[in-house]
Each structure stands twice: as C-alpha cells, then as structure tokens.
C-alpha cells in the first residue's frame, strides 16, 4: 500500500506480521495484531526494537495500554469509508493515553476524509494505488477553517 506522511508519498519501512509468521533475530519494524501481541508480549518486547500494534476498530483501548511504552506505531482501521469508529479511537489514543508515536490510518482511507483523520491524531495514511497525490493535497488544502480545536492543528483558522 502506498503510504502518505506530511502530504507526500514516503517509503514504508514497516511490515505487517500475520498470526502465522515466525519472528527471528532479524525481525524488526513489524506491525503485529494486538491480539497476538497480548499473547506473546514477552517475546515481542524482548526481541524487537521497532514494534507496532494493529487494532480492529471494536477493540477496547484498555488492551493497548500495557504496550504503549513499547510500540512506536499504532495502526487503526477503517473497514469502510462510512465506519467512523477509529476517529474516536485515535483521539483517545492521543489525548487520553498520550501516545506520541506514529498513528496510521489503514483500510478505506479516502482523500476527502484526510483532514478529519489528521485532526483526530493520525499522521500516516495507507491509501489505495489509484489515489493521485494531487487529489490528496487538494482535499487537504481546500477546507482549512475549522470550528473545533483538535490535534496537530492550531492558529487563526480555529474558532473555539
């Protein structure tokens, strides 16, 4: 999946580790389903220096809490454009749990939703192959006034 950060395509050093994939001494920069991470916590925490966690959007965030100090990336999922649960998860991960690493949006990530995602705390976006960067940038720039304070946004364009 192409990855966008700071409104540009970047190389993605991370890989997803499935439930069946073994870990070796070489394994690094892996995003692990939270369920597996929970089961094999000691193994992952001792062997891997760059660890990420992937959460389904109905996961209780309490389950992520024990790993927040160890993970550098959290991947949240939008199974469908219209399923907005991960917006709330993102805000809680940033504002309540205080996570400062990479917060990645995965699944049905559409340029017209990018600004809302950023404002909820996402800073990395896996997009489908056919999203032109130009469309993405236009979607981000076209509406820059907002009524609510939110993550990573400040300045004169904020009302409250």
């Amino acid at each position: 999946m192409p990855l966008i950060k700071n409104d540009t395509f970047v190389k993605d050093p991370w890989q997803y580790l499935g439930d069946e994939d073994n870990i070796t001494n070489e394994t690094d920069y892996v995003i692990v389903p939270l369920q597996r991470l929970t089961k094999e916590a000691g193994e992952f925490q001792s062997k891997i220096s760059n660890l990420g966690a992937a959460l389904p959007n109905d996961q209780d965030l309490q389950n992520l809490k024990p790993f927040l100090a160890d993970v550098k990336l959290v991947a949240l999922n939008f199974p469908k454009f219209a399923d907005g649960r991960a917006y709330s998860q993102a805000r809680l991960i940033r504002e309540d749990l205080g996570f400062e690493g990479e917060l990645r949006a995965t699944g049905d990530v559409f340029p017209d939703q990018a600004v809302s995602m950023m404002r909820c705390g996402f800073d990395a976006f896996e997009v489908s192959e056919n999203v032109p960067l130009e469309t993405w940038k236009r979607a981000v720039e076209i509406l820059n006034h907002m009524y609510q304070r939110s993550y990573a946004v400040s300045g004169d364009n904020i009302r409250m």
Binding site: G84, Y87, I142, L143, Q148
Partner: protein, 552 residues
C-alpha cells in the same frame, strides 16, 4: 440573530469550494456514484424518485428577510418556483440539477446559509423553539446555545461518520414546542435548586420504526459543560452504536440495549477523560455568541391597542385569524404572528417564491426582518406590534397566507411521501389534502379544537405520525396503499407515542375513518375545552375502536 463574522464566511466559502471540487470529480467520472454518495449526503443532496433534492439548513429555524428572499430566488432560478419547509426547520428543493448545485450553494453563502450536514450520518441541524426569545413561558433564550452547538458540530472531525444520523433539539421553555423528547439528544433549559440556569439532557428519543420517548441522562448540567458532555455522549455512541443493521443503529437502540444506568456510566467515564470544559467551550465564546440574540429595539407600547381592538370587533375574518394564529408575546403591545403554510387542500409546508418574497417584505415592515420556521411546517413573525397586525393580516390574505387553522384539524404535519421520496411506501400528501378538504369549514375545525394530525408515507416517520394525536402511516400491501391509524401520540412536554387502533384503511376510506374518530370525540368529550388528546387519555382507545370496527 447570529451574523457570520469573517471566520464563518470563509468557512462556508471553503465548504462550497470543496463541494464544487467533489461535484466536478463526479461529473468527470473520477468519482463513482458509490464514492460520491457519502460526500453529497454530507451536504444535503439526495437522489430522489425523479430528481436530486437539496435540503438547505435553517439553523434553529431562524431566517432574515434577506435570507428568505434568497430562498425565493433560488426556488425561481434553480427549481420550479417553490420550496418545502420541513419538520426539522429546514427547506427542501425538489428539482435542482447536479451541475447547478455548487452555484446554488455559492448564492446561499452570500446570505450566510449552507446545506452542511442536512443529511448523512452526522449531527444534523440543531432545532429549537420557534418562539425562542419571545415566548412568555421562557426561562432563557436557547438560540445562543443552539448556535454554539451548530458551530461545534460543523465538520466535527470525530463525529461525521456516526452509525446513523443524529438530531439535537433544545428548548428554553417548560412548554415544549420543539419535541425535544423525540430527538437523539433533547435539551431543556431549567433552573437548579440554587436558581442557576442550566440544562436537563435527554437521550435516546426518536421516531422511525422504533419510536421512543427520550430519557433523562443528566438532570442538571452547568452551561459551560454543554459541549463537553455532549461530546462524551457522542463518543460512546460513535464507538458502541450498532453498525451491522441500519434500523438498529440510532442511539436509542444502544441506550435501550445497555439500559440508561449503564449508558450513563459509560458517558460519565468518557466525560472524565475529556479535557476541561473551558478548553472545548471557553466562557467568552458563550458570551460572544449569546450576545447576538439580544432582543430587538422594541417600541414602548401600551399592551392594549385601541385601533387593533376595534378592527377585531369590526372584521370577523381578522378576528378569527387572531383567535387561532396569534400567541401572547413577552413584551407589552407586541404579538407573535403564526403564518399557516396549510391552506385548505394545499401541500403542508410548501411555499411559492411569490409567497416567500411577500413574507420577507412583511417581516421587514412589521417584524424586525426576522422569520422563524416551525417543526410543524409553518412560519412565524416573532415581533409584530399589535397596532400592525391588521395591516400584516391584509398582506397575508393577498398571498393566500392567512389560513386561520393553527393547531386545528387541517394544520397537518406531512412528509413528501411517494410523490417525491425514494423511501416512501405510500403517498401522504393526497391524504393530507383530502382531510383538509373534508374539514374545509373552519368553524367546524374550531369546534373540534386543538388536534394534531401527522402523516408519514413510510415507517421512517418523517411526518411524525407516532407523535400525532391522530397519526397516519402509509404502507404498501401487495401493491395497494393502505393507512394505519394511531391515536394518542403527542410531541409536547408530556410526550407520548400513539397506539395502533386496529387494521389499516384504504386510501378511499382513511379520510372517513379520521372523520369518524373526530365525531366520536365530539360526542364523548366532557366539555368543549377538553381537547382530543385529553379525551383520549381519559377514555382510551375503546370507544374509537368500537365505532371504527363495529361489525353490525
């Protein structure tokens, strides 16, 4: 009323530019209809049976003369010369073309209006009491808080993709004219024991296929905590509301599944995590916004105007309109003038461009250029001096706007039904028109007294049939329209859901059935002041059932 500052103006312009871009991508084929659908639905654009329909927001039902003129112009330029005022205090255009929508929105932006979040699974237009600021029973004007919620909910980054649509209503008066108990969140301004004004918060009310009267989640909330508390409710709903079945996705289903105690606990737990209310709603922002709703510069008038009283004595038609359509005003010498959009045999809530222009002019002359839209699909001029009422009435008569039927049989709430709507299972407008024609004699309507008839053309209940004293629901049975009647519903401060009286009626017999119900009521009421609802609550459904379904 609220006026846009530079920020608001810039925001709405950018939103139009964004929608123009999205529309162009759709017209060029870059976006499929499937991709465009959620984008257009965030901006009030539906695809109906025959054409696109655009719903324009009228925040808490308040309009200026300038805005109403613009709505009239849009009806002429982009539609077929009329618009339809809705139960959510909005206006709908039934015939715009997709390619024209961005230009139409630009014209709306010129008068501080938009179509943002009038559809889609997001927080919709916040509605309120149409008599806000002028009602005699009001504790505090709720419009400032409605405007705060409008701003806060506009393109809220977290809450634009909820499980389902979300409706908020607020009233500042104990006599509820905004049907707050039938909203996802209903807000009543009230005083606590220390005499401070705050809010009672209701949650989980609604109509649709599962009608529910909202329950109190917070008995009293300080003003400054309004947005943060609502944010906590929204977050619990966004995370845990059902998304597997759209008929089970409204917040009422979640509240019922968890029970109000558990739901409240979850909301309070989220509330504890939210940063201080002052951050979300700074105190000076409350002051800034509520200051826009200061009363207009009323003249000092005697409460009794002699010329007006004489006109009432001399002109029977005028006196009749005064008796039904005028409400008491909090300022001496003034009146609240309600304009019925329910002429006999007409389409409830429809207004032609010519009527809109006329009302805009009359409001400018007699009501500080302000108009309100009601959830019962009528209009209001909130600040009319009694000495001007006769001239106002004459102006209304000229444009077929002086029907003296407010809250009577022919003041019917009615959805567009199968004449327009893609969801409808039956027509609702002709039923409404036929009932209205049957009771064309206003004296007969006055004898019946207050009676709220509400008609929906499908189970989604846009015509509020569950809350009708007489509710009518149009369904489809093997290709034939038939109509189910409910009795005893009410949307006021003692809200109730109507009960199905028995088997449905055909389109040929439903009007007879309604007439029969009304005649039974007239026979059994204890005295002429006992309303239909009071009688029904006293006697229950039996006398009506017997008459309607007697076998011999």
């Amino acid at each position: 009323m609220y006026r846009y500052d530079e920020f608001d103006a810039q925001f709405v312009k950018q939103r139009v530019a964004q929608f123009r871009d999205q529309t162009e991508r759709r017209l060029s084929g870059e976006l499929t209809e499937e991709q465009f659908r959620p984008l257009r639905l965030m901006n009030g654009l539906y695809l109906q049976l025959h054409a696109y329909m655009l719903r324009v927001a009228i925040p808490y039902g308040t309009l200026s003369s300038k805005q109403l003129r613009k709505l009239a112009r849009i009806a002429d330029k982009y539609d077929k010369g009329y618009g339809h005022f809705t139960t959510r205090q909005n206006i709908q255009y039934n015939w715009p073309k997709l390619k024209d929508i961005p230009d139409l929105l630009d014209e709306l932006a010129d008068v501080e209006m938009h179509a943002i979040q009038t559809s889609g699974n997001c927080i919709r237009n916040v509605t309120s009491d149409q008599w806000a600021g002028v009602a005699v029973d009001e504790i505090e004007d709720p419009r400032g808080y409605a405007e705060l919620m409008r701003q806060w909910s506009t393109i809220h980054p977290e809450f634009c993709y909820l499980p389902r649509k979300f409706k908020i209503a607020i009233t500042g008066a104990p006599n509820d004219r905004a049907a707050v108990a039938f909203h996802d969140i209903g807000i009543k301004m009230k005083k606590n024991e220390a005499d401070e004004i705050g809010f009672e918060i209701l949650v989980g009310g609604g109509m649709g296929r599962t009608p529910v009267v909202g329950v109190t989640i917070k008995d009293w909330l300080p003003k400054k905590e309004l947005l943060s508390y609502i944010e906590a409710i929204m977050r619990v709903y966004n995370m845990y509301g059902r998304r597997d079945n759209k008929y089970k996705a409204r917040i009422k289903i979640l509240v019922m599944a968890l029970g109000i105690e558990e739901f409240r606990n979850q909301v309070e737990a989220e509330y504890d995590k939210i940063e201080s209310p002052e951050v979300i709603l700074p105190g000076e922002e409350i002051g800034r916004i509520t200051s826009y709703f200061a009363p207009p510069e009323y003249q000092k008038l005697a409460d009794t105007d002699i010329a007006y009283e004489e006109k009432r004595k001399a002109d029977k038609a005028f006196a009749s309109w005064i008796a039904t359509n005028i409400a008491k005003h909090r300022v001496p010498g003034y009146a609240i003038a309600n304009i019925s959009l329910k002429p006999i045999g007409g389409i409830p809530g429809d207004a032609t461009s010519e009527q809109m222009y006329a009302i805009a002019d009359l409001a400018e002359r007699y009501s500080f250029s302000e108009i309100r839209v009601t959830h019962e699909q009528n209009l209001v001029l909130p600040y009319v001096a009694k000495q001007d009422l006769y001239a106002l009435w004459q102006g209304l008569v000229k444009h077929d706007l002086a029907t003296d039927n407010l809250s009577l049989v022919s003041d019917i709430i009615c959805c567009p039904g199968l004449d327009y709507c893609a969801l409808a299972t039956a027509r609702s407008i002709p039923v409404s028109q036929n009932i209205s024609e049957r009771f064309a004699d206003i004296e007969r309507q006055k004898d019946v007294g207050e009676l709220k008839i509400k008609i929906s053309g499908c189970i989604n209940a846009c015509g509020h049939h569950h809350a009708g004293n007489i509710g009518i629901l149009g369904l489809d049975k093997k290709g034939e329209e038939f109509y189910q009647i409910t009795l005893g519903g009410s949307a006021d401060d003692n809200a109730s859901i109507g009960e199905i009286i028995g088997p449905g009626f055909s389109s040929d017999t439903v009007v007879d059935a309604v007439e029969q119900i009304i005649e039974i009521y007239r026979d059994i009421r204890q005295h002429k002041k006992e309303t239909f609802l009071e009688t029904y609550r006293r006697v229950g459904p039996e006398p009506f059932k017997e008459a309607l379904y007697a076998t011999d």
